[in-house]
């Protein structure tokens, strides 16, 4: 009997298996092909706006995604660097093959973790409790808990033009049976779709005419544990940019009558933020040109991923249209773009621990919950793994608050709002955005991962020391004044107005033109022993600078967090029968009954639940 059975070895599955195994549980990882672990089925990239935040958080919690990405990245960039620190987002291009290999290495070297190369076809439960799974070969595998992270494989259908093949990824079989057994247990399912663009032969592209998009000069790793002196591990490559034009659009339009989307063959709902090229042409007809990125699939790979050209039109139309694009006039299409349709389980059916409300011990993570993206999947996998392990060990659940992490925002959004399209994380989804930065994920989360045993204690010790330096540093900067004659020259040089007599470092630091490290060079501070540890700890210095520069805004967000906290603490029993509360509006009754929120705070975020409904709930809860 296994402690935890993980179905699916995608980005969610490997995080779940790896974390729970390291927490001391015995894990069975069920996957059709163990060499397809952590496969990147869509674009060969990790991170991006808000997704990069997730990767940093996963890493701070002891997950594996950041480490694998650091090992296999062939281009690293920090997005949004011209903006404030809260929206800086790390992103990398990955070598697709190496990524899977590295994932296999990490997972196979984990103790307590067994691979079972099979296909799960049925979930077995009894009296509302999970018992295990049945596999295609007829085997019954017993487990105390089961984490379903089957990605886009459930009853998957791939479409190119009017031809459809069953399968979740090119060349891979779908997984059938699981959905049906879950429906029998009472779960509600839905259908989503996602698309992928064509893959091109590298040597058939006219590279000289394309615009180059290079990586950062000083690439930064995702993982707190990556040794910066060895980083980057791989040689770094460029991406390239090209554009569509009206001629291209005209050719694509020819294929609309053979589009599985427009002819109604596909019923699944696609993501609005990642539309197919045909969707873009139809919905934004006024736009004459769309930007396309040519991304290498790997260091030695002959494949190029045409990001921005996701399509399910017939292959010949895709090729004909590409031949009109600058640089692609003679391109060879190794594989056409296609759309994948798959089953998901609307996520109001899970709790914030990712355990299903219907079946005890059953957890859903990743695309089965309606999310898109590797990072979103990995974050859920990690949290499901941790929570399943805690449950097996009879310990208290682990739930992150919206004010603590993007992971908290992601899961809370899923649970309270459910989703009708593939869910992607955005920075704008986080109401406490200024506090949830990629630069402070360790400060926010490492105390948890240390306690959970997912991170080396020494790592945390380092953080505690740094926290001390930060606190002392803030104090020093608030209480140390610089005189006009010392600072004015620097102010003038950096284009800031000069001062009359003297001013504290913290006030001077608030000016957009100044930098803390420069201010600390003045007045002999760099030789002042008090300032030593701050000046020498680059990371602490940056945290102090951010806290000083944006103090007013952060304080306002912090206050908002505290105001809302109270409502998060007001718990609602899952057994509350909303339908009998006659004072509630009909809409609120239905919505509350569907979601079964855990707290008043969560209830207030459900759309259609009004402030008066909340008042009524408060009164009933007092009964």
């Amino acid at each position: 009997m296994y402690d935890i059975i993980v179905i699916g070895g995608g980005h969610a599955g490997i995080e779940a298996a790896s974390a729970s195994a390291r927490m001391g549980c015995l894990i069975a990882l069920i996957s059709m092909d163990k060499h397809a672990l952590g496969r990147m089925s869509c674009n060969p990239a990790i991170g991006g706006t808000a997704k990069g935040h997730l990767v940093r958080e996963i890493d701070a919690l002891g997950g594996i995604m950041g480490k694998i990405a650091d090992r296999t990245g062939i281009q690293f960039r920090m997005l949004n660097k011209s903006k404030g620190p809260a929206v800086w987002s790390p992103r990398c291009q990955s070598d697709r093959e190496l990524y899977s290999e590295e994932a296999y290495k990490v997972v196979s070297s984990t103790k307590n973790l067994e691979f079972i190369e099979e296909s799960a076809i049925e979930l077995v439960a009894e009296d509302g409790k999970v018992k295990g799974i049945k596999t295609q070969s007829g085997r019954f595998i017993e487990g105390k808990t089961v984490i379903l992270s089957a990605g886009t494989f459930l009853n998957a259908l791939m479409h190119t033009g009017l031809r459809s093949t069953s399968g979740g990824r090119f060349g891979e079989k779908p997984s059938t049976g699981i959905t049906e057994s879950l429906e029998k247990l009472g779960f509600e399912k839905g259908r989503l779709k996602t698309g992928t663009p064509p893959r091109l032969a590298k040597n058939s592209i006219d590279w000289d005419v394309l615009e180059i998009q290079p990586g950062d000069e000083n690439p930064q790793p995702f993982s707190y544990q990556t040794n910066i002196s060895e980083f980057p591990y791989l040689p770094q490559l460029d991406c390239h940019i090209t554009h569509t034009d009206p001629d291209v659009h005209k050719i694509l339009e020819k294929g609309f009558n053979k589009s599985p989307m427009f002819t109604g063959l596909i019923n699944g709902v696609g993501p609005r933020y990642c539309p197919s090229i045909e969707d873009k042409i139809v919905r934004f007809s006024e736009k004459k040109s769309h930007q396309l990125f040519l991304e290498p699939e790997g260091m030695d790979s002959d494949l190029i991923y045409l990001n921005g050209f996701s399509s399910s039109l017939p292959a010949e139309i895709q090729l004909e249209a590409m031949h009109k694009i600058k640089g692609l006039e003679n391109v060879e299409m190794v594989r056409p773009g296609y759309a994948v349709e798959y089953d998901f389980f609307p996520p109001h059916q899970i709790d914030n621990t990712l355990e299903t409300k219907l079946i005890q011990g059953l957890y859903f993570a990743g695309q089965v919950n309606g999310t898109s993206g590797y990072e979103e999947a990995a974050a859920q996998g990690l949290m499901a793994g941790i929570n399943a392990a805690l449950k097996v060990q009879g310990k208290k659940e682990f739930v992150l608050k919206r004010s603590e992490a993007y992971i908290g925002v992601l899961i809370d959004d899923l649970v309270t709002k459910s989703t009708e399209e593939p869910y992607r994380i955005f920075t704008s989804r986080a109401e406490h955005r200024l506090l949830l930065r990629q630069d402070n994920a360790d400060r926010r989360l490492m105390s948890y991962s240390t306690e959970l045993g997912l991170i080396d204690k020494n790592m945390y010790k380092e953080i505690s020391i740094r926290e001390g330096i930060i606190t002392a540093g803030l104090d020093l900067c608030r209480n140390t004044k610089l005189h006009a004659k010392v600072v004015n020259e620097y102010l003038e040089l950096s284009g800031s107005s000069t001062i009359e007599s003297s001013e504290t470092i913290s006030k001077l630091c608030k000016r957009p033109e100044t930098q803390l490290k420069d201010l600390l060079k003045l007045d002999g501070l760099d030789n002042n022993p008090n300032f030593n540890s701050l000046i020498n700890n680059h990371n602490a210095l940056r945290q102090v600078e951010i806290e000083l520069k944006y103090e007013g805004y952060m304080k306002r967000q912090q206050e908002a967090v505290e105001r809302l906290e109270k409502y998060e603490k007001l718990k609602i029993p899952l057994t509350l029968n909303y339908l009998t509360l006659k004072a509630l509006s009909t809409e609120a009754k239905e919505k509350l009954d569907r979601v079964k929120p855990r707290s008043i705070g969560q209830a207030s975020r459900i759309s259609g639940v009004t402030p008066s409904d909340i008042s009524i709930l408060l009164v009933y809860l007092k009964k």
Binding site: A50, S82, K83, H290, R429, Y553, T610, V619, K622
Partner: protein, 451 residues
């Protein structure tokens, strides 16, 4: 979102009934808030539970009214929280003024219907059956707000606020777009355009805010104070209007001590008429109190009938004093007793006889015109008539000004967004919608996003 940590305030006695009005305040900062505008023998913050204190409510050194204040400490109050009751002399002008003074204090707001009782229940001060009654009240309010458009005033306002919120959402979308979709080749809004958009919303909010005094009048009635020397016929005018003698009519100057009020409706607008003791210095203690009270009444009036006697010299000094207390456009000069003398030389606005009724209709007409004149009201204008809405708009404006400041300082979008979102929430409070996904939805529908 409701908030138990707020201190809430409301009139406890029905508006316009009885000689004494009671204002009830409950919540953590209730005692200190009242204390900050109260002058008495003792600080209220030091007062024990169930103690009563005599003193005055002051607005910046100036006395608003003399009051009795009862202090109740938690858990032994109606709500179970710290609370205070202020008993005033019943003039709605005064109670309104006191409530306005208190909600200016941070953390104090107007109570929602049933909120005192709800708090009482939550703090175990009342039982289940009483609580059920509260649910009904809250429920009734839900129904009312569902039928919101039934009320023309609210309907127009919520349409306008909705429109402003839409503009704000689309403005926010531009800001967010730049943050979440940095990689896309989309046209971004430049800083000056952003400021222009925010400015536009602020201007619209300003216009709404400026309708409040008129809106309040439409909803709550116009407060009219009759001012004049003793014996010019103030009480007689009231009596004539009402055909009942509630004010004491007498031949002895200075006996109309208390403010006496009556209500009349002219073409659908409610006028609340107050007779005062006249603005006059006096050594008589009781008289003095009356004088203070009437000065405040005059200050807070929407309209003043300045009354003179055709037989007497026009009291210039009294009129000048009046001008120091209220705006000239709020004052109507009325000369009374034209039945006694026909050749009148003074430049009065209206000539009447409170005895024969001559000129009274002209007076009504002129009162009504003044009300409309002071506003750009048209049937289709959105008008703010509710203090809660007014406060939400004011907060929205403040947040927008902060956002504008951030934009002017060229701060990155996520900082501007902090205040734009707060403003959005303030507007949403007026129309009772709570959604967070509007910005993203707007982005998805308006911009071609996605590589």
């Amino acid at each position: 979102m409701l908030d138990d940590e707020d201190t809430i305030i409301a009139l406890a006695t029905p508006a316009g009934v009885g000689a004494i009005s009671v204002i009830r305040i409950s919540g953590p900062s209730s005692i200190s808030s009242v204390d900050s505008i109260f002058t008495g023998k003792k600080k209220l913050t030091d007062a024990s539970s169930h103690s009563i204190h005599y003193g005055t409510i002051d607005d910046d050194e100036e006395i608003v009214d003399d009051v009795l204040v009862s202090v109740f400490r938690k858990p032994n109050s109606y709500t179970g929280e710290n609370s205070v009751e202020i008993s005033t002399h019943g003039s709605p002008l005064i109670t309104q003024k006191i409530i306005e003074l208190l909600i200016k204090i941070d953390g104090v707001r107007i109570a929602e219907p049933g909120e005192f009782t709800k708090r009482a229940f939550l703090n175990n001060r009342i039982d289940l059956s009483q609580a059920e009654a509260v649910l009904d009240i809250i429920n009734a309010r839900t129904d009312a707000s569902l039928r919101g458009s039934r009320n023309q005033l609210d309907g127009l306002l919520s349409a306008k606020v909705n429109e402003l919120r839409d503009i704000l959402v689309s403005t926010s979308s531009f800001v967010e777009l730049e943050l979440d979709f940095a990689e896309e080749d989309i046209e971004l809004i430049d800083n000056s355009e952003l400021i222009k958009r925010i400015d536009k919303i602020v201007n619209e909010i300003d216009i709404l805010l400026s309708t409040y005094s008129f809106g309040r009048v439409l909803r709550d009635g116009v407060n009219v104070t009759i001012v004049g020397q003793p014996n010019v016929g103030k009480s007689s005018l009231l009596n004539y209007i009402l055909k009942e003698s509630r004010a004491i009519v007498s031949e002895i100057p200075g006996t109309t001590r208390d403010i006496i009020r009556e209500e009349i409706t002219i073409d659908g607008i409610l006028f609340r008429m107050y007779d005062t003791a006249g603005i006059r210095t006096s050594d008589d203690e009781i008289e003095k109190e009356g004088v203070i009270r009437s000065r405040n009444a005059v200050k807070n009036s929407d309209l003043i009938l300045f009354m003179g006697d055709v037989n007497l010299l026009f009291p210039e000094d009294l009129f000048n004093e009046l001008l120091g207390l209220n705006k000239p456009e709020h004052i109507i000069k009325v000369l009374n007793k034209i039945d006694l003398k026909k050749d009148i030389g003074t430049d009065a606005d209206v000539l009447i006889s409170a005895k024969t009724g001559e000129g009274i209709n002209t007076l009504f007409e002129s009162m009504k015109n003044r009300v409309f004149q002071n506003s750009d009201y048209s049937e289709q204008s959105a008008i703010v008539s509710n203090i809660r809405h007014y406060n939400c708009l004011k907060r929205a404006k403040e947040s927008l000004m902060n956002a504008e400041k951030s934009a002017e300082e060229k701060m990155s979008g996520e900082f501007i967004s902090v205040d734009l979102r707060t403003a959005e929430n303030s507007l949403a409070e007026i129309i009772g919608v709570v959604t967070t996904d509007d910005i993203l939805n707007n982005i998805f529908s308006k911009f071609c996003i996605g590589k």
